[in-house]
């Protein structure tokens, strides 16, 4: 189905071809324990966690 006429002839807002983002579902389930990975990420963003420099 065609797009509405208002979309034609205008300058777009997405300036370049979009690159595919790594699929998160694959990234967090590489091993047998995706739950453990979830815990790791949760720990990384836990309130009060301090960086070590």
């Amino acid at each position: 189905m065609p797009l509405r006429p208002a979309r034609r002839g205008r300058v777009g807002v997405i300036r370049a071809p979009v690159a595919k983002t790594a699929v998160v579902a694959k990234a967090v389930t590489p091993g047998a324990a995706p739950v453990a990975r979830t815990a790791v990420v949760a720990a990384a963003v836990k309130p009060g966690r301090r960086r070590r420099i």
């Binding site: 797009l3 509405r4 208002a6 979309r7 205008r10 777009g12 071809p17 979009v18 990420v41 990384a44």
Partner: protein
Amino acid sequence: MAEQSLDELGPVDYVVVEFPAGASNFTGEMAAELLALVDSGTIRVIDVLILTKDQDGAVEAMELSDIGELGELQALEAQLAELLAEDDVEHLAAAMEPGSTAGVLIWENLWAAPFASAARRSGGQLIANGRIPIQAIIASIEADEPLTTQGE
């Protein structure tokens, strides 16, 4: 939107959500969660497109209103601003796999607008922004773990 000044506009983001061939399972859950975000004033949906890419790579774009029964999304559809232009379709579809369908969602982060306005009034200017992929967080933590173990 017409009465909204640029100074009060929140950051505008987009996502392209791909549904590989045969993998879609629409139960209404996505629509419900989206409407909850709108109803709570967290976001304002600016535009929606549905894209399909055939096995030869040809892309077709549809309006939200083209998909038939919208249900609760009907009210949302009436408020869309049609920001995306025909030119944007090919760029957005570049990330899609052949044979897939994707939903494109553009929204304004209403929750961020007051803070952004305050930052501008304070003399600040946005010089960078972005999103940290979960994969990067995992990689950072995993790289950190041996150091933590050694330090203990």
